[in-house]
């Protein structure tokens, strides 16, 4: 068994997939013009750790020595707009922001007030207002309604957000395919015709199998060392970018990143959470390199199910909270903005006296991205993809 570290080391750019004739991933008609990376940060990201409101006096007071200091101080925030900053380790994101390719959203939450991971993740993914109230995820409804889009999850399991009846949805986790077994696999797939439990899954992976991934052309990537993917997330993003750039490939990708549930010892300037955020920032910044010429048509959106408590708990961490941040980056994005309304951190301004209050419904962001970037029809959005969300409205001017 090849050990994973060696396996990843032997990968050059684009060598995940075998070369084969250029064959379409899905039926003809999948759009080439707009790409979306939806990145779900699972576990409840502490938005205030990632985008500290350094100028808020209550923030400095209550977070105490776990607060990020003022810009210019040792370990201080990277300034965004004089009130908010980025954690000092997030250099990649700061560059995107300064280049007008990043929008930050503050005080965002789902419409469901609860602090259970799986209940709120369910709402994040079902596009409704309560958990277990739909049979499918909202992204599945999107590709059902607007079939020139197709979506892929870069994970072994299909996340609920993509679950449902749509055909132009798949899950895929990149690994090497042994060429001599392909013929046998085709025959095995035939055994599943008509099998109601399993046929759909077989069809999906057979479709992807027929696809060729061109090696990334040398023009598209800086051959400098800094672009080489390091770590699992960057490798996954590289594979995703390859999938998205193939003719007839998916234009919407869903990735999951876990490990944000920082109940204990989360650290501040340094520590576990800082390291994770730094890795994320670096990985997101690399999407620009991996998408190359397609970056101008692409965007990524990071969301999380909820934020965390404002107060630090008994174990130098934070417990489940309410509002957090979202990030929208990309060449298509009309960036260098911070959107949403800061509700403040005075005791009376906190939700249930413990959490940052939410002032933007996360569905507003989802709707604005799919409408503004993918051009999804707003009637379909209101009636089917995000039913009962008419009060949220839309952000304007997120994209060029």
């Amino acid at each position: 068994m090849i050990n994973r570290r060696n396996f990843l080391k032997t990968l050059a750019f684009g060598s995940f997939f075998a070369l084969a004739p250029n064959v379409k991933l899905y039926s003809a008609g999948v759009r080439q013009d707009k790409k979306l990376f939806l990145i779900i940060l699972r576990g409840g990201l502490d938005g205030m750790a990632m985008m500290p409101p350094f100028a808020d006096i209550n923030y400095q007071k209550i977070r105490g020595d776990m607060a990020i200091g003022l810009p210019g101080e040792n370990g201080g925030a990277l300034n965004l707009d004089g009130f908010f900053g980025l954690h000092p380790a997030l250099i990649g994101l700061k560059t995107l922001y300064d280049d007008k390719e990043l929008i930050m959203f503050n005080a965002v939450a789902t419409p469901y007030r609860n602090r259970s991971h799986f209940a709120v993740q369910d709402v994040l993914e079902n596009g409704a207002t309560t958990p277990e109230s739909t049979q499918d995820g909202w992204l599945n409804r999107l590709v059902s309604n607007d079939q020139k889009n197709s979506a892929v999850a870069l994970s072994k399991e299909t996340p609920f957000i993509l679950s449902g009846g749509a055909k132009n949805v798949s899950s895929f986790y990149p690994h090497k395919i042994a060429p001599d077994t392909q013929n046998l696999i085709n025959k095995i797939a035939d055994l599943y015709r008509g099998d109601t439990l399993l046929e759909n899954s077989i069809d999906q992976f057979m479709q992807i199998d027929k696809t060729a991934m061109k090696r990334l052309s040398k023009d598209d990537i800086n051959s400098d060392k800094n672009s080489a993917p390091s770590g699992e997330l960057e490798n996954l993003l590289l594979s995703t970018a390859q999938l998205m750039k193939v003719e007839g490939g998916a234009n919407i990708a869903v990735l999951n990143v876990g490990g944000w549930d920082t109940h204990a010892n989360q650290g501040s300037v340094g520590g576990d959470l800082a390291k994770k955020m730094a890795d994320l920032s670096q990985a997101l910044a690399k999407i620009k390199i991996y998408m190359g010429k397609e970056w101008k048509n692409s965007c990524f959106l990071t969301v999380t199910e909820f934020g965390r408590t404002f107060h630090i708990n008994g174990t130098k961490g934070t417990d489940h909270g309410t509002a957090s941040i979202a990030m929208l980056g990309g060449g298509a994005v009309n960036g260098k903005k911070i959107l949403g309304t800061w509700p403040g951190l005075a005791p009376t301004q906190l939700f249930e006296k413990r959490d940052l209050n939410a002032t933007t419904d996360i569905r507003k962001i989802f709707k604005s991205v799919i409408s503004g970037h993918l051009g999804v029809n707003q009637t379909a959005i209101e009636n089917s993809i995000f039913p009962d969300s008419s009060t949220t409205g839309y952000f304007s001017d997120l994209f060029h």
């Binding site: 068994m1 994973r4 699972r42 576990g43 609860n114 602090r115 259970s116 991971h117 799986f118 209940a119 958990p131 994970s155 072994k156 399991e157 299909t158 679950s163 798949s170 899950s171 895929f172 986790y173 690994h175 395919i177 042994a178 077994t181 046998l184 696999i185 025959k187 095995i188 035939d190 055994l191 599943y192 015709r193 099998d195 439990l197 399993l198 759909n200 899954s201 077989i202 999906q204 992976f205 992807i208 199998d209 876990g258 490990g259 549930d261 109940h263 204990a264 708990n313 008994g314 174990t315 961490g317 417990d319 489940h320 249930e352």
Partner: protein, 439 residues
């Protein structure tokens, strides 16, 4: 040849078919299942060569105190290795067990009370948790299982209870540290009542307070009174007085016997054993009733499940999860441990759903659509082909098909195996067939 009902007995209730078991199962499939619900055997001889959580935990505490970073690093690597050895041994144990129904039940509870090695410095605890807290208790009352689970060092560490301190306790006041709600929340949400089972945020806090002081020292459970919240606590409408030393235990017992728990747990059990898109209502009512009336006597609950007609449905199926698949494969090929088979025991990594590696305390979802995603199905088929190419078999493909699937084989699959151009292709068709993916 394995008949239809025996297929159900072997795969839905058990963990697969080893050809030498066929005649016993075929004689009376239901009786074969019920006979395994008598004496508890799942813990006997399980990982007996491995050190206990206490022994290993003591070393961890010593290393932490020494602050010697090399020592800590070495220990970490040692324990990681140990964990993977344990997974291999555990897989073999299940493959060779004469009580596969008990193996299935163990895995059910191990997933219900999921702990995960994604937690730093947890490698020595995950397999020991199943060995010490789950396996010995699968035939006891649910409250016994719950209590042993909550009090085990693995659970106390995994969900951060070891540092949770009553704000008014001696240490709480001295060091100004406080509560950590994590374990209390998951006990209510995932282990007992379930979301919507009738608790509020204030009950999460109350339960957290009730189990303050439940911590770990010397590698085992220790109650530290200086961390315990010294006030009366109201939990789910009941007042637990501050002088009651047993109040943490009483609160857990109360939860175990709560009707919402009966509903939540019964639903998961019925979902596990009954095919169909929806959990069958009648089956759920029956099992819930048994759960409540027996005060959570799990042996009675299992016997009732083994008597449900919905569980013996031979027309509809559930999908094997990855653990089911790997163990069924091991039984079918009568796998023995050697260098070649190391690949096999590491196959969890390529399939996903590695033991003790769930993303959250919720464990892995027991739902056919989730279990059989495109990527997973592809990986399984590739694994089946790899096994077919690399391992030796005691029977020809067509013969083996009759033994491990039998009457449940479709004409299409039968023809494919029979018409295969070579033996390894025949075995590939069999092990990658839809029939072998199901239970």
């Amino acid at each position: 040849m394995l008949d239809n009902k025996s297929y159900i007995a072997a795969y839905r209730f058990g963990m697969g078919v080893n050809p030498k078991d066929i005649s016993i199962i075929n004689k009376n499939p239901q009786k074969w299942v019920l006979s395994q619900l008598g004496k508890p055997m799942a813990h006997r001889g399980f990982l007996s060569d491995f050190a206990s959580s206490k022994e290993l935990g003591i070393k961890v505490e010593a290393a932490a105190q020494s602050r010697n970073s090399d020592q800590i690093k070495t220990l970490r690597q040692e324990y990681k290795k140990l964990h993977f050895e344990a997974i291999k041994a555990r897989t073999l144990f299940s493959i060779n067990s004469k009580f596969p129904v008990q193996e299935r039940l163990t895995y059910f509870w191990s997933n219900h009370f999921a702990v995960s090695v994604r937690k730093p410095d947890f490698y020595h605890l995950a397999f020991n948790f199943e060995k010490e807290a789950i396996r010995p208790n699968i035939f006891n009352k649910f409250e016994d299982l719950l209590l042993t689970v909550v009090a085990h060092p693995a659970m106390l560490i995994y969900l951060d209870n070891i540092k949770s301190t009553g704000p008014n306790s001696t240490i709480g006041k001295r060091k100004s540290v406080g509560l950590n709600e994590n374990l209390a929340r998951e006990i209510l949400e995932l282990h007992t009542l379930g979301v919507g089972g009738g608790y509020k945020q204030q009950d999460v806090i109350a339960l957290a307070k009730l189990i303050t002081g439940w911590t770990v020292s010397g590698g085992e459970f220790q109650f530290n009174p200086e961390m315990h919240e010294p006030t009366d606590i109201e939990f789910l409408g009941i007042i637990y007085k501050k002088d009651d030393n047993l109040r943490g235990i009483k609160a857990l017992q109360y939860l175990a016997r709560h009707p919402s728990t009966a509903h939540f747990v019964s639903k998961k059990l019925v979902r596990h054993f009954c095919p169909g898109k929806e959990v069958p209502e009648n089956a759920l009512s029956t099992i819930k009733m048994v759960f409540l009336n027996s005060k959570g006597d799990l042996q009675q609950v299992y016997q009732a499940i083994a008597n449900l007609k919905e569980a013996w449905d031979t027309k509809r199926f559930r999908v094997k999860n990855n653990q089911d698949f790997i163990i069924a494969l091991g039984k079918a090929i009568n796998i023995k441990p050697n260098i070649k088979s190391d690949y096999y025991f590491n196959s969890y990594k390529s399939l996903g759903e590695e033991p003790f590696n769930a993303r959250s305390p919720q464990g892995y979802l027991d739902d056919d659509k989730t279990i059989a995603s495109a990527a997973i199905m592809k990986s399984r088929i590739e694994m089946a082909i790899l096994v077919a190419k690399n391992f030796s078999f005691n029977f020809k493909p067509t013969e083996l098909a009759q033994q491990i699937i039998g009457e449940t084989l479709s004409g299409k699959t039968k023809n494919a195996i029979f018409g295969a151009q070579s033996d390894w292709q025949g075995y590939s068709f069999l092990l990658a067939s839809p029939e072998f993916q199901k239970r």
